[in-house]
Every structure is written in C-alpha cells, then in structure tokens.
Symmetry: C2
Subunit: 234 residues, 2 copies
C-alpha cells in the first residue's frame, strides 16, 4: 500500500466509481444491450455518443480491420464515450467545469485519437485499432511517445475491466522499437498473462496494420480493486 | 538495432530533424536569444507563440512554482510551441494537413496540458510544472495515466536534448503510486543518472506541488542519435 496520506480513501472512491463505469462496458455486448444500459444510466435527452464506429476520416486500413473484427463472432466491440461514466461524481474537485476523457477530447473527427477496441472473452485478449491524427505529433512529426503509452494503457485496462473487473495501472513498461507515422493504422494486441491474487500481469504489442512492423512492446501490471475495499493495495 | 525494414533510414531522418529542432531550444537561454533564434528560423509574420508562460487559467500553485524557478539563476526556462520545429519536413506523409505537437493541441487555455519546463545545466536536471486540465480525464475523473507517461517522456526528453543532444526514447518504465486530481499542480523532476556510450539512463519523480504526495516514479532509457548516422542503434 502506498504510504501517502489519503491514498487509501482515494482508491476506495476510485474503486466505487470504476465499478459503476465498468458496468456500462461489461454488459454492453451488443448495440441493443448497450442502448438499454445507457437508457438506464443516462436520461434519454443525454444519451452519450459512441465514438467507436467508423467515420469519414478513417483510412482504408482502419476500416478493413474494423470490418474484419466486426464480422468475427469471437470479438465484441467496446463502445467509447467522451466522458467516463461516473466521472461527474469524482473527487477531482480541482477540475473546473466539464471534464472529458483524454482520448476523446478533440471535437473535430480525424485529428486526434481515432480508434475502436474489440474484446475476445475466450482468449482474454483485447485489440485496439488506432489511427493517430495530425494533432498527436511528437518529435520529427511522428506520433508522440506519450500517445503510444496512452493507447497501451487503454487497451490493457479495457481488457481487464471487461474480462476480470475494476483495476488500476500499477506499472507500465514500454519498449519503443520503431516510430509510428501520423495518419497510419496500427493494431495494439494485449493479453492477460497471469493473475496472482489482486495482481494482473499483461503483455502487449503495437504493430503496423499488416503486422510487418513491430512499433512497441510493453508489459503492464494492474491491481484489482475489491468491492467495498477501504484500502486498495499497490 | 531494430530488425524492422526501413527503421535505420527513418531514424537517420529523425536525427536530422531533431538536430534542427534542438537548436531552437539549446541556444534559447534567454527571451532575447530565443527571439533572435526564432527570427532566424521563422519569417517575422510566422513567429510561433511560446506557450510556456503564465496565463489566467494557471492556479496559485502553478504560478508560485513558475515564479520561484524564474527567479533562480541556476534554472533556465524552456520555451514551448504548438508545432515542433522541423515537423513540416517530416516523413509522416500519411498525416493530412496541419500537424500539432500532442501536448499543445487544444486551442482553449486551461483545459489540456498547462505546463512549463525549466532546465538546470549544472545538475543535468529538468523540472516540469504541470497543471492537468479537465480534458485530460481518465478513470474516475483523475488525470489519465497516459498523460502522466506523456509528461514524464517530455521532461526526460527535453533534459537530454538540451543537455546532451538529440535522442529518442527506447524504454519508459512507470510506477503509478497515487492518482493525480485534474486541476491540481504537480512537479516532475528528472535527472540523468548515467551515460554509457549512446545510452542515457534517467530517473524521474512526479510529486504534488508541495512535495507531500509521490504520484509516480519512472526510469527512462534514451538512445543518442549521432549526426549523419545512417543507422541508429536501439
């Protein structure tokens, strides 16, 4: 457990909120089920937009991967919203005004994170189709290394929350092999390797859409948050 | 060296572009020098805006840290732009239209990455004052873990580029200890631990503005890019 004052209480609050949010994802296995779930959580006039569907800025490789995974019944598409369910009730009182989920914070399509995630229950595997827009630039005009860390964390986290339960990142270890051109399409593939008590060990690769280039490799350790737990262990 | 086809050529191009960009930072040790440098690189009508200065959305802690470091002659402020110098000539041909630097991609002040970096030449140390805005949300409304990876990568990278020379991230290893509330102020402190040939080993901490809370710890390995090198080694 972290020795920092107040961390236990904060993590309890996070556990409570994540469990609310995870319910949105876990039961939304079809478009119809997702709609029922949202109608339960959000008033009809405030139905959130699901961003994890094709838009005109998607390039042919992004669309092809989306269609292939959509056709395969072993994969289930995960919806994605501008705001994480439950975040309005978060403890981040310093935040002023409307909050947005980091990877959905740009209004214009195609300039930021364009992506869709799919989950394979039998294999405990999550893939993330990612098309980095021109506003995600890093050194020399390639995709910023922080974006790659962000999509790896998102892929691994979605897989664990959907397959096992609410959890938080404890460690993220990334090897950068080859830079990712802005506007290209990459596929992030994450698998759970081992569950040991509250610890979940995962492994992840970021490859070009045709698998020819290995852009990054990563391991991530997540810690499960128990329901009603007053102090989560890190 | 990475076995991927074309990686050597890409890294040579990146090295060439970074060296152009690094020149902007390395010689811009005062506001006047920075102005001269920009006038050399950019036509007068296209002088880029330097974002690393206080704006009305900065909270009292962010301003206090900025003022303290500005007064101390051992620290030098690093300017920050919307676009990385040289990115227009990058190889990311897939990117369509205008590119933006990832951490400066939101037009409205205060909603995204608000930050300023300072560099201490004698100590080979870089600090990053960071105020995450409400559009950088992650689980439960706290700052997204990917943002923390992004600022760590930015801090370490800026220190190496300014103190040693152009380099690329090869490994980033982050331990997440305590979540960061949106709207709060944190300080990222990065030091070079060892230089071994082309490899630069660094260590970094992310703490609350008053140092009381350790939010994250990280190590990062960077690989220096030699001038004119046709193949960089990872």
């Amino acid at each position: 457990m972290s020795p920092e004052s107040g961390t236990g209480t904060m993590l309890y609050e996070i556990s409570r909120i994540i469990q609310g949010g995870a319910a949105v994802c876990r039961h939304a296995s079809t478009a119809a089920a997702a709609r029922v779930e949202h109608e339960h959580l959000f008033p009809a006039a405030l139905q959130p937009r699901d961003y994890a569907v094709p838009n005109p800025t998607w390039n042919p490789e992004t669309k092809r991967l989306y269609e292939e995974l959509s056709r395969d019944p072993s994969w289930r598409r995960l919806p994605s919203y501008e705001e994480f369910a439950g975040s309005r009730s978060s403890m981040s009182l310093e935040a002023d005004g409307e909050t947005r989920f980091f990877t959905r914070n740009l209004d214009q399509e195609g300039i930021g994170f364009e992506y869709c995630m799919f989950y394979n229950e039998a294999e405990k595997r999550t893939v993330f189709i990612f098309q980095p827009g021109p506003y995600l630039g890093g050194l020399a005009g390639y995709t910023h290394g922080g974006c790659i860390a962000t999509i790896v964390d998102s892929t691994v986290g979605a897989g664990i929350v959907n397959g096992i339960g609410p959890a938080m990142t404890a460690n993220l270890n990334l090897d950068y092999r080859s830079p990712i051109p802005l506007g290209s399409t990459v596929l992030i593939d994450s698998r759970v390797e081992k569950v040991d008590g509250q610890k979940v060990y995962t492994r992840c690769q970021v490859r070009s859409h045709d698998s020819a280039v290995l852009h990054s490799e990563a391991t991530a350790l997540y810690v499960m948050l128990k329901s009603g737990e007053s102090e989560a262990r890190l």
